[in-house]
C-alpha cells in the first residue's frame, strides 16, 4: 500500500513540473514585459525593478529560482497589487473557495449516491424516473445558464435569498452558490451510481447472496455498496478538474471572493505572477485530489492491492 502511494506520487511530480514549465514559458514569452503599463517608467527604475524581480536573468535561471521559491511555499508577489504577495491574497480567498467547494462536494456525494442508489434499487419505476429527471437538471444546462436561472427564480422572483455577495461565511450568501455546484455534480454522480449499482445487483455474487437467504438490507449495504462505489470514486478525479470550471463560473456569478475571482481578475488585469501562482496552486490541489482518489480506490478494492 505504501509502495503504491509512493509510485503514484512519483508520477505526479513530472506533471506538476511540466505545468509550471508551460505556464512559465507562456508568461515570459508574452509580448511586452510585466511592467508595460500606461505609465512610462524611467529606464533606471525599470532596470532596478527588473533586477529586483530577477527578470534580467536568463529564463532557465528564473525558472529554477521559481521552483526553489515554490518549494519553500512562496508563490511570489503580485505585480498589480503591489503591496500584497500572492500568498497573502490566496490566504484570504482559499478558505472561501474551500468552504463552498467542500460543502458542495460533501452534499453532492451524499445526495448523488442516495439518488443513484434509490433509482437503481427501484429501477424503471416512478421513483427511478423522478429521481433521474431531477438529477439530470444539472447536466442539462451549462453552469453559467443554470446559475443565473437560479438567481432569477430564488433571488429576484421569490426573493428568498440574496443574488450574490459574501458576508463572512454567513449562510444566506452560501445557499445559492453551493446549490449550483451541488446540482451540477449531483447529476453526474447520480447517473454513475445508478448504472454502477444496477450492474452490481445483476452480478453473480449478488445472486449468491440472495440464494443464501440474506435480507435485502444486508445485501445492499454489505455486499453491493462497496463494489458499486468504485466507479463513483473513479469519477471524483475528473470531477475535481471540472469543478474548477464550475467554481470559476459560480464565484463570478455570485461575486464570491474566492480563488476563482482572483484568477479571473488577475487574468483581466494581466497580473502574471498572480495568475501563475494560482495556476500552480490549483494544479497542485487537483493533483493531490487525484492522488487521494487513487488511494481511496486501492483501499476499497482488495483486488487492486495485489
Amino acid at each position: 500500500m505504501l509502495a503504491y502511494t509512493f509510485r503514484r506520487l512519483l508520477i505526479t511530480i513530472p506533471t506538476l513540473l511540466v505545468v509550471i514549465g508551460i505556464v512559465y514559458i507562456l508568461l515570459f514569452s508574452a509580448p511586452g514585459g510585466p511592467f508595460d503599463s500606461e505609465r512610462v517608467v524611467p529606464e533606471a527604475i525599470q532596470a532596478q525593478l527588473m533586477s529586483k524581480y530577477h527578470l534580467d536573468l536568463p529564463y532557465w535561471k528564473q525558472y529554477l529560482l521559481y521552483i526553489g521559491q515554490l518549494l519553500q511555499g512562496d508563490l511570489g508577489v503580485s505585480y498589480r497589487y503591489a503591496d500584497w504577495s500572492v500568498n497573502e491574497l490566496v490566504s484570504g480567498a482559499l478558505p472561501v473557495s474551500l468552504a463552498i467547494g467542500g460543502l458542495s462536494i460533501v452534499l453532492s456525494l451524499l445526495i448523488g449516491i442516495l439518488m443513484g442508489a434509490l433509482a437503481a434499487l427501484f429501477r424503471n419505476s416512478l421513483v427511478d424516473y423522478l429521481v433521474m429527471a431531477l438529477g439530470s437538471l444539472g447536466s442539462v444546462l451549462p453552469s453559467f445558464v443554470l446559475g443565473p436561472l437560479l438567481v432569477l427564480a430564488f433571488a429576484i422572483g421569490l426573493q428568498w435569498l440574496p443574488s450574490g455577495g459574501w458576508d463572512h461565511f454567513s449562510w444566506p450568501f452560501m445557499v445559492l452558490p453551493v446549490s449550483l455546484l451541488t446540482l451540477i455534480n449531483v447529476s453526474t454522480l447520480a447517473r454513475i451510481m445508478r448504472a454502477s449499482l444496477v450492474e452490481v445487483m445483476n452480478s453473480n455474487y449478488i445472486r449468491t447472496a440472495r440464494a443464501k437467504g440474506l435480507p435485502i438490507r444486508l445485501i445492499v449495504f454489505r455486499h453491493a455498496l462497496r463494489p458499486s462505489l468504485l466507479p463513483v470514486v473513479t469519477i471524483l478525479g475528473p470531477l475535481a478538474v471540472s469543478s474548477i470550471t464550475s467554481a470559476l463560473v459560480t464565484e463570478s456569478i455570485f461575486s464570491i471572493p474566492g480563488l476563482g475571482i482572483l484568477v479571473v481578475n488577475g487574468a483581466a488585469n494581466r497580473d502574471y505572477t498572480l495568475v501563475l501562482g494560482l495556476v500552480v496552486l490549483i494544479t497542485a490541489m487537483v493533483v493531490l485530489v487525484n492522488l487521494c482518489v487513487d488511494l481511496i480506490y486501492a483501499f476499497l478494492d482488495p483486488r487492486s492491492r495485489a
Binding site: 429501477r123 452480478s203 453473480n204 455474487y205 445472486r207 449468491t208 447472496a209 440472495r210 440464494a211 443464501k212 437467504g213 440474506l214 435480507p215 435485502i216 444486508l218 454489505r222 455486499h223 462497496r226 463494489p227 476499497l300 478494492d301 482488495p302 483486488r303 495485489a306
Partner: protein
C-alpha cells in the same frame, strides 16, 4: 468430461424416504419487448431425502431456469406458475421474507462460476459466517467456529488463513469448495448444484463429485445436479431428468435412462459420450443447434434434429409412461423406445 467407466450403479435405495421437494407443472415465462418467451414448460418432479436427481440438457434447455425459479432468483421480467412444495410448503411466488427462511438454510444452491459467484470485496469469513448469523442467530464467535469445522471437514488446509483471505486469492477448485462449504453450513435438506464443475479442470471435477457423494453419505443431503454432462450424473444420480427446449424429454431412474433410453435425444446424448474403449472411433455429435427461445418449433422441440421425426412430431408430445418400461420411466416422444 468424466470418463464413462464410472457408469456404476448407485446402491442405496431411497424409495421409502419422504418427499422433500415436489414440483408440479412449473412454467417460466419472460416478458420481453419482443413478446413473451417461455423458457420452461410444464416441468414436474419430486425429490426424496437422500436422493440425487440429475438434470441434464444443453445450454438453453431451461434446466438452470427451472432451478432459479425454485429459488426465486429469476430476473425481474420473469413470471412463474405451477407449484413448488418444499417440505409441504409452497415456495413459488411467495413473499421474499418467507422465501428467505428457506433458501440458504434448508434449500441451498451453488453456481457454475465460483470466481464471479463469490463477493470479491468480502473476506471468506464474512461471506460464510453471515449465513449462520442470519439463519441460526449465531454469534460471530459461534459462527466462526462452525465455519472452521466445516472447512476442516472438507479437508481445506489452513482454515484460519482461508477465512482471512479474499476469493481472488484462491484457485478455481478451492473456490468451489468454499462455495460448497458455504452452502452446507446450515445443513440443508436439499442442495442444488448448477453446473458446479463446468468451469473447472477435469481432475478437480472428479474431486468435487467425490466430495458431493461423500456429503450425501455423511449428511443424507438430497442433491439436484444440473449439468450438460451425462457422464457426470452417472455415478451420482438416483433419478435422471433430460430436458430440451424448456421441456422434459425423458425422466426416470438412472439405470432406466442409461440402459433403456427411450427418447431419441437421450440416446443421442449417450452416444455422444466419448468412451475410452472406442478411442479410435469418430465422436458422435448431434447435428444442428438447440432452438432459440424466440424460434421454438411448434411441436416437439427436438423434431428438427431428430432422426425419427415425422409429421406426427409437429404436435407437442406430452410425457407418457414408456411402453414396457419401469413404472416411473416417462418419455415425451411420439415414437419412443426405438433406436435413434
Amino acid at each position: 468430461m468424466v470418463c464413462a467407466t464410472r457408469l456404476t450403479r448407485k446402491t442405496d435405495d431411497v424409495s421409502t424416504e419422504k418427499i422433500l421437494l415436489d414440483v408440479s407443472h412449473l412454467n417460466v415465462h419472460f416478458q420481453t419487448p419482443e413478446g413473451e418467451l417461455q423458457a420452461v414448460r410444464d416441468v414436474s418432479f419430486s425429490l426424496r431425502q437422500g436422493e440425487t436427481l440429475g438434470v441434464v440438457g444443453e445450454s438453453g434447455s431451461g434446466k438452470s431456469q427451472t432451478m432459479l425459479a425454485m429459488m426465486g432468483l429469476l430476473a425481474n421480467n420473469a413470471r412463474t406458475d405451477g407449484q413448488v412444495l418444499f417440505r409441504g410448503d409452497n415456495i413459488l411466488n411467495v413473499p421474499t421474507a418467507q422465501l428467505n427462511r428457506v433458501r440458504g438454510h434448508k434449500l441451498a444452491m451453488i453456481f457454475q462460476d465460483p470466481m464471479t459467484s463469490l463477493n470479491p470485496f468480502l473476506t471468506v469469513e464474512r461471506q460464510m459466517t453471515e449465513v449462520l448469523q442470519i439463519h441460526q442467530n449465531a454469534s460471530r464467535g459461534q459462527a466462526r467456529a462452525s465455519v472452521v469445522r466445516m472447512l476442516e471437514s472438507l479437508r481445506i488446509a489452513d482454515p484460519l488463513r482461508c477465512l482471512r483471505s479474499y476469493p481472488h486469492q484462491f484457485s478455481g477448485g478451492m473456490r468451489q469448495r468454499i462455495m460448497i462449504a458455504m452452502a452446507l453450513l446450515s445443513q440443508p435438506h436439499v442442495l442444488i448444484a448448477d453446473e458446479p464443475t463446468t468451469a473447472l479442470d477435469v481432475t478437480v471435477q472428479a474431486q468435487i463429485v467425490a466430495l458431493l457423494r461423500q456429503l450425501q453419505e455423511d449428511h443424507g443431503t438430497s442433491i439436484i445436479m444440473v449439468t450438460h454432462d451425462l457422464g457426470l450424473v452417472a455415478g451420482l444420480s438416483d433419478q435422471v431428468m433430460v430436458m430440451y427446449g424448456g421441456r422434459v424429454m425423458e425422466h426416470g431412474l438412472a439405470d432406466d435412462i442409461f440402459y433403456s433410453a427411450s427418447h431419441p435425444y437421450t440416446s443421442a446424448l449417450l452416444a455422444s459420450i466419448p468412451r475410452l474403449e472406442h478411442a479410435d472411433d469418430e465422436l458422435q455429435a448431434i447435428p444442428g443447434m438447440p432452438p432459440s427461445l424466440r424460434n421454438m418449433p411448434a411441436g416437439c422441440p427436438f423434431a428438427p434434429r431428430c432422426g425419427r421425426a415425422d409429421s406426427d412430431c409437429q404436435r407437442p408430445a406430452s410425457l407418457r409412461l414408456v411402453p414396457e418400461g419401469a413404472s416411473d420411466h416417462q418419455c415425451a416422444c411420439h415414437h419412443p423406445g426405438a433406436k435413434a
